[in-house]
Structure formats: C-alpha cells, structure tokens
Amino acid sequence: MSREGSSRRWLLLAAAVVLTILAAWWASLGDPPPPTVRAVEFPQRMRPEEEARAERRRTIAAPPRAAPVADGPAPTEAPRDPLLRALTAPKGELVVVAEANALRHSPIGERLVDCFGRKARRELDQFRDELGIDPLEDVDRIALDGANILVSGTFGKARWDTGEWSKDRAFGDAGRILSKGDRSLAVWRDEIIVFAPGGETDLEAAIDRIEGRSQAAPVLSEGDSYGDAYGRIPVDGLVELLGADQPALAEKLKAAARSVDLHVDASHDLAFTVDVPGESSAAMADLADAVSGALTLARLQAKASGQDEFAELLGFAGVRRGDGGFSLDLAVPLELMERHLGAICPPEEDAKAAAEGP
C-alpha cells in the first residue's frame, strides 16, 4: 500500500474514533441527569464513640453471683447500664431505645426542633418551669419496653413536690414511686423515670430489674446499643405488618427468622439497618433473595411509574448477607428530608415576615 493510502487509512480510523466520542457526548446531552448515588453510612457495629458512651453509662454494679466456693467472696460482674437492665419485654413485645439527646442534636433533629419547637416553645417552657425538666436538654434516652416507657437523663432539678405527685414512697435502694390519683411513676436515682400502665407492681418490677433483684434477662445487650435508635422487633408483629401485602414473604419470615433487630443512625442521613438473624442458613438465603428481589421490583416499578423520588430512596436500599442471616439497609438522605421540611417549615426569617404581614 502507498504512503498516501496508509495515511488515508489512519485518517479514517481517527475519524471513526472522533465520531464515536462525538456521538457518545451528543447522546449524553439527551439523557436525563444521572441520579445522585452516594455512600450512606449504615449502623453495622459499635463505633469507638459508642463504646465510650456505653462505658460512661455503666453506673450500677451487677448483682453478686453465687460463689463457686462456699467460703470465698461472691464474684461480681462489671457495672452495667441501668436502663438496658430494665428492658426485658416479658411477652416478647417491641423494645426500642431512642437516643433522644443525640437525635435532637443530629442535623435533622436540629431542623425539626427549629420547625416544630417554634410552635411548641411556650408549652415546653411551661413544662420546664413547672417540673424543672427541660425535655430538649435533660432527656438522654427514651425507651419503649412493651407497654412501659422509660426515660433516662438528668432529673436532679425535677420538682416533683410542686406538682400533684403528692404521694411519694421509697422503693429498693434508690427508687421512689410517686402517685397522682390513680396514676403513678417511678424515679430511680434522678436518672431514670419509668411510666407503666400496669401500675405500681410494674414500676416495682422495673426498679427490681435495674437494681438486680430480678432473674429476667435484659433483651438488649451493651453490644446492641449502637446507633441513634436501636431495638428488637418481634417477628410476629412484623409478619402481621407484612401479611396483607406480602403474604408469601411474611410466611418465609415467620419460618426462618428468630428476631429482627433495628438500628438507626441520624448523624447525617437517616440510615436504617434491620438485622434478621435466623436458624437455617438455606431458609435465610431464600428470604434474603426474596427481600432483595422485592426491593429491585419496587425500584423498577417506581421508576416506570414516574415516582422518581421513591425510586431514588430505594436506590439506597440493599440487602447484605451474613453468617446465618442478613441485613436490610434503608436510608432517607438528609437533602430529601430538608426539602420536604422546607415545604412544611419555612426558614425562621420567612416565618417572621409571614407572621408580621405586609
């Protein structure tokens, strides 16, 4: 081949490459903007700051165990977190702990307080003036233990005597039971307040658990206490929830899973992790596949039906398979929450201007 022919061939090859690049660029102009997919940090295990937090909360000594040798001293375990010790869910009910203070100071918590706190400021101030408790600052954790509610925090300034909680009796080493008509609550060491619809018997049982006089084992261990909210959901409750829409999935869940653990992280986005441990690894693998398939299908349906925001949300969802179980990750990005909150709660300046009027 002549030199001219050879150079013409190279020119044609170069033209093919340039035209392909041009075509790719041109075609991309007509494409919709790519969805923003960024990494979300899901709560998977205790982080160093959570380990330090758990250590700070070990404020009560464990009860002495039976001595192995008759004459020797009774060995003791390390001190424990009194709130976690109080949670037993005797009927296998829902147990959830919300790190109220961490949630309140999280980005979305700050925004929510800005939004709804403006409206509720007067009531909150009134509550603080009457009882000496600032719900936004003094409360550390709120736990739901079946029908009981436990609140931990700093309640040293609480003025129970100024209210109508007139009847006050001591119980256990550091507990008090206060009554107001037919209602009662328990306060332990000015650190934990217990509300129990079952009455004083349940309140006494809760203090017994805190102080180690109960044989009931705590539902959540210290190792479970990571994230800004954590807890255990009974499988039956979840099956009932799924039953109507996803009966097959509900049946699989009932057959395979022992329990369902929930962890929520709100340090930036709102990230949920649902851990599903199980007995049979084959059944759990099937269940993980079914959940993963349902997520993919839902994402495609949302995309096809033009529900782009929902499809974007499902884009953050995923299934992680582990030893003998799996974890389901779900997330709501901070930007999305702020966008929706912005529509409900305009910034303070706008609200002021709207209130003042023209």
Partner: protein
C-alpha cells in the same frame, strides 16, 4: 458525490429486480389492506351518528376523540418503528455480501470509483430503500387511520422517519461487519444485536437504577454511552404520534448522535475496505 449517487441508484435498480423485495412490498400492501378492510374504528362515526340522532351538538369535539385515539397512534408508531427496522435488517442484510462477491467487487473496483464512495453509495442506496418502504408502509397506515377514525395525524410518518434514522446507524454497523466476514447471516446478526443493545441503551437510566454502585455499574454506564439510544428515539416517535409532550432538544441530541454513530461505523468500514485486497 455523483459517483456515490450512481452507486446508490444502481442498488435501487438491483432491489427492484429482486423478487424478495417485491414479496416484502406485497406483504406490506396485504397488511395495509387487512387494516383498511377489517379494523373497527367507528369512534368518530358513532359521535356523528349520536349527534344526528339527538339533533343537536352533544358538546363533543374532535379533541376528546383524538385523545381517545392516542394509544392507537402510539401503538402504530411502535409497530412502524420496530417493524420497519426489523424489516430493513432482514431485507438488506445481503446487499453488503453481494457487493463484495467474487467477480462483482473486482468489476466495481476497476471503475473510476473510490472505495469509500462505493461504501457510502451502498449505504445511501439501502437508506433510500428504507425510506421508500417506510413512506409506503407508514404513509399507507396514516391514510388508513385518518380515513377510518377521521383524525389525521402524521404520527406514523414521523415514527417511520425516526425508524429510518435508527436503521441508518444499524445498517452502517452491518456494512462494517460485512467487511470482516462476507456473510448475510452475520450482517443480520450484527443488525439485530445492535438493535437489542440500542433498546437497552435507551433504557440505561432505568437499568442503572438496579445496579449497585461499583465497577459493574460504571462499566455498564460507559458501555451504553457508546451505543445509539434506539428505544429512546422510539419513545419520542410514540410521543409525537400520540401528540404527547416530548423533549425536542433531547430528540435532536439523540438524532445527531445517531448520525455521528453512523459516520463512525462508515469510517471504520472504509478503513477496513481500504486495507483489504481483492
């Protein structure tokens, strides 16, 4: 340019002399005839009859009727688009191999023609056949639907025009494949493979949603970036046919990109052709 036009014209003459094309033309005519004779589209007739029966205008207008017929026009655009491309791939897959056939290629190369001109002329000739077939099929369908429904929409014609643009890219790739292996089956295979890949590329945004972030997702993103968005152009054709909203700038970008893809495939084919000994 004149040489290119001559090659294209010769190809048209050759197509006319082949029974295969006559049979396919007859098949299109038969389908149009069946649609014309047996399709029950008495929406407008019914509206007019009701008006006559009650002796007054019932408040209906051509607009709601046209809206009711949108799915029909949309479906006809889909059929014209994909049917036209599939028809083109099957009917034109052996033009390239015949061009390069022993005896004929030597004759063509002995003429005062550049190889690139021969290639572009063949591509243009096939594109003219596709345009004629589309004009006949889509034009006939437009007339029949207009006659039967009373709603005159150029939708099928627009879909046909966009099908020709998409077929142009696919045929350029088929022609390039012929220069590696002189086989009509391979040429048709490449055509259908590119059609399928183009359908996937047109849905790349939806498909990306099911990929987890990582290497696989990026590979898919960049691989589909290099493909013509066939199904996206079909969606535009269906929207035009149904008088639905569509993004004209997006369509312009996709059509422009298809022209560039076709140019790239022809340049690659010419590069191969120039270096090939016969």
């Amino acid at each position: 340019m004149r040489a290119v036009a001559h090659v294209a014209f010769d190809l048209l003459l050759e197509a006319r002399s082949r029974r295969w094309f006559l049979a396919l033309g007859g098949a299109i005519t038969l389908i149009l005839g069946v649609i014309a004779l047996f399709l029950r589209l008495d929406v407008v007739d019914g509206t007019l009859a009701a008006t006559r029966l009650f002796g007054a205008d019932l408040g209906g207008s051509a607009e709601p009727v046209a809206a009711a017929l949108r799915p029909l026009f949309s479906a006809s655009a889909w059929i014209v688009f994909y049917g036209g491309i599939a028809f083109g791939i099957v009917a034109c897959s052996d033009f390239g191999p015949r061009l390069l056939g022993p005896g004929r290629i030597e004759l063509l190369l002995s003429l005062p023609l550049r190889r690139a001109e021969l290639l572009v002329g063949t591509w243009l000739g096939v594109l003219c056949i596709a345009l004629l077939g589309t004009a006949f099929g889509a034009g006939g369908l437009t007339l029949i639907l207009g006659w039967k429904t009373g709603v005159w929409s150029p939708g099928p014609l627009a879909a046909g025009a966009l099908a020709c643009v998409s077929f142009g890219v696919i045929y350029a790739a088929m022609l390039a494949a012929t220069l590696w292996s002189r086989s009509a089956a391979l040429s048709a295979g490449v055509g259908f493979a590119l059609l399928f890949a183009g359908v996937v590329a047109g849905h790349r945004d939806d498909a990306l949603a099911v990929f987890q972030p990582g290497v696989g997702r990026e590979v898919f993103r960049y691989a589909t970036l290099l493909l013509p968005r066939v199904s996206a152009v079909c969606r535009d054709a269906m929207a035009i046919a149904a008088s639905d909203a569509f993004d004209p700038l997006g369509l312009l970008a996709r059509v422009g990109a298809m022209a560039a893809f076709a140019g790239a495939a022809l340049a690659l084919a010419a590069w191969r052709f120039e270096g090939k000994d016969f």
